[in-house]
Assembly symmetry: C2
Homo-oligomer: 352 residues x 2
Amino acid sequence: MTRKSHSITIRDVARQADVSVATVSRFINRNAPVSAEVAERISKVMTELNYVPHAAARHLATRRTRSIGLLLTTINYDFFSPLLSGLEKVVAENHHNLLVATYRADLRKEYPPPVGPHNTDGVVIFADAVKEDQLAQWHRMNFPMVLVHRTPPPHLNIPYVTVENKAASRRIVDHLIEVHGRRHIVFTRGLVDHEDSHWREMGYKDALEAHGIAYDPKLVVNGEFDREVTYREMKTFLSNNHPVFDAVFASDDDSALGVIRALQDVGMSVPDQVSVVGFDDQHFSCILPLPLTTVRAPTEAVGRAAGQQILNMILGEPAEQKILLPTEVVIRQSCGCSARKSMPKEVIAQKR
Amino acid sequence: MTRKSHSITIRDVARQADVSVATVSRFINRNAPVSAEVAERISKVMTELNYVPHAAARHLATRRTRSIGLLLTTINYDFFSPLLSGLEKVVAENHHNLLVATYRADLRKEYPPPVGPHNTDGVVIFADAVKEDQLAQWHRMNFPMVLVHRTPPPHLNIPYVTVENKAASRRIVDHLIEVHGRRHIVFTRGLVDHEDSHWREMGYKDALEAHGIAYDPKLVVNGEFDREVTYREMKTFLSNNHPVFDAVFASDDDSALGVIRALQDVGMSVPDQVSVVGFDDQHFSCILPLPLTTVRAPTEAVGRAAGQQILNMILGEPAEQKILLPTEVVIRQSCGCSARKSMPKEVIAQKR
DNA sequence: CCGGTTACAGTAACCGGTTACATTATGACA
DNA sequence: TGTCATAATGTAACCGGTTACTGTAACCGG
């Protein structure tokens, strides 16, 4: 209110340095030669006046915001920490800003996305944070986008970066079958609209089929990538008369925790009676009482790659249509493999 | 480049709806009466044209960006996930945007802070992300700021929100002394410039003094709030001839992990020989092989409070000068208290 | 010495909104 | 009926930068 805020402008600098605003602008942006003498004068006045160019004015004139948006469904989840970290790093290195926003489904009717062409030069979109029609519209107007942990809808060639879900899921379920002789494997599904969940389930099915095991929909439990939900659903599963099972492939590490707890509740021992494996290799997975056998997803690298991509697109340089980062099965003990006697080395070595 | 981007402007809408730009503006901002008939027309044209006001133009005209900045030293740390989550929630609820930026010390010489008055209507500053002279300058120009996990320098009455460090540290060290009879307690210090670390050390000293135990600087180890650093420093500590000790108060949970690993390396048993306690109650702390006795810091609430504060300041409403959120000692097993037989309930119940 | 290039600098239009001020129509009230 | 408040709308200046266009002086090869 009444922020008269005699903010000092480029004209103040120009006047004080006895040059034109154009010259000051050129000096700031180094996009045209300025004599050493004048440069010196401008520079001095700028620090004297503590001048910082007004971003909005610059944006308006250049039609570039130098900021990129990140659209998430939620932040409240450890998973996003490395993603954000990787993204912010490359965005900052390239002198851009990062606008982080969530766009929950219930807001979609009433408001347009909080970040978009009006706001940013491009956006990174996680999973199903925005709907297809919005993607299509932005695509039509050539607005730079990179999808993360999802693929574009058909006929929209929007670059995306995600991780190898299916093959790794296949391998970790193979491990359960081949090494531990498990044949009745529960899958706790993630969020239904989530491609990660879909492909992890595909990998699961693949593994079953490859070993001549029939897919039994009764062995699939909903978990929503959530520890608590998975716990509840597993309890329900266990309290009804359920098919025999001897292993659980949880769609992520967090839900694996819910699974383990539910099993312990009813007195089933992990990993002796039931092997449990997860996905993601989150920060906590290696330091659990029963270190989790899981699939390592390079989430920080996903963030970096997405940042690199969106910056390329903004600069008009070519972007990869598809970046699929490799994942890796990490054998620990929750599947039944032998225990080490102390906390694993990686507790320490693991990059934060 | 050559993004001709015939972005549709308010004048396009005005022309098509056969009204003036002022009327359209008034309709959009609902800050002056517009006849129902005209409103209808404008509304229709707007959706037809898919018009979204250009943020920069609006910012320039109103001198308000409707976005608030968050300045961190680093993101790569699970600790920030709940902070961000809480902050983003209230910022979004109040129709503002969140600009997340890191400002590492090595950038400070060369660049001004990536977020500031040129960019945002106010900033939330974590710990020592910006230096005192910068704080002073912003304060002088009345730029809204809220400090988080730090207090303002003397004579700058900048509102801050942080957690109760000293009293809780005192209590958890009391616990070590009174319940477990420990009297030779190592403290692994956090980052030296970090107030949290400072006050946690003060609480530690208080507890010692209250029990007539002399403070021994040889029992203080540097840890920098970092698992790996703490591990290394503890190893160094243990390999030189060190004073006898029977407990460790780590300045945060992450470093407690490093401590435990270092102790296990040299064959000391936790908690039998040495009690270990931490601070923060991070997401993983309750699911460790040895669940950590620690102090719960309400980090998500800190984020929410900071958001509320900065929004108040921006709206010119009064802000609390100081918000000190309570912390709570959480007794688990790493101090030597009795174990429960399965994973603690809170693994499930804990809010994500 | 001349035409042409280049280095350097200034003027002013423009980016797309907001809003102070002006204008007209309308209804209320004395 | 004249006065006044109010509703509804328009005109144009302004926010603080960038940049197209223009101009001058210095420099260069012939």
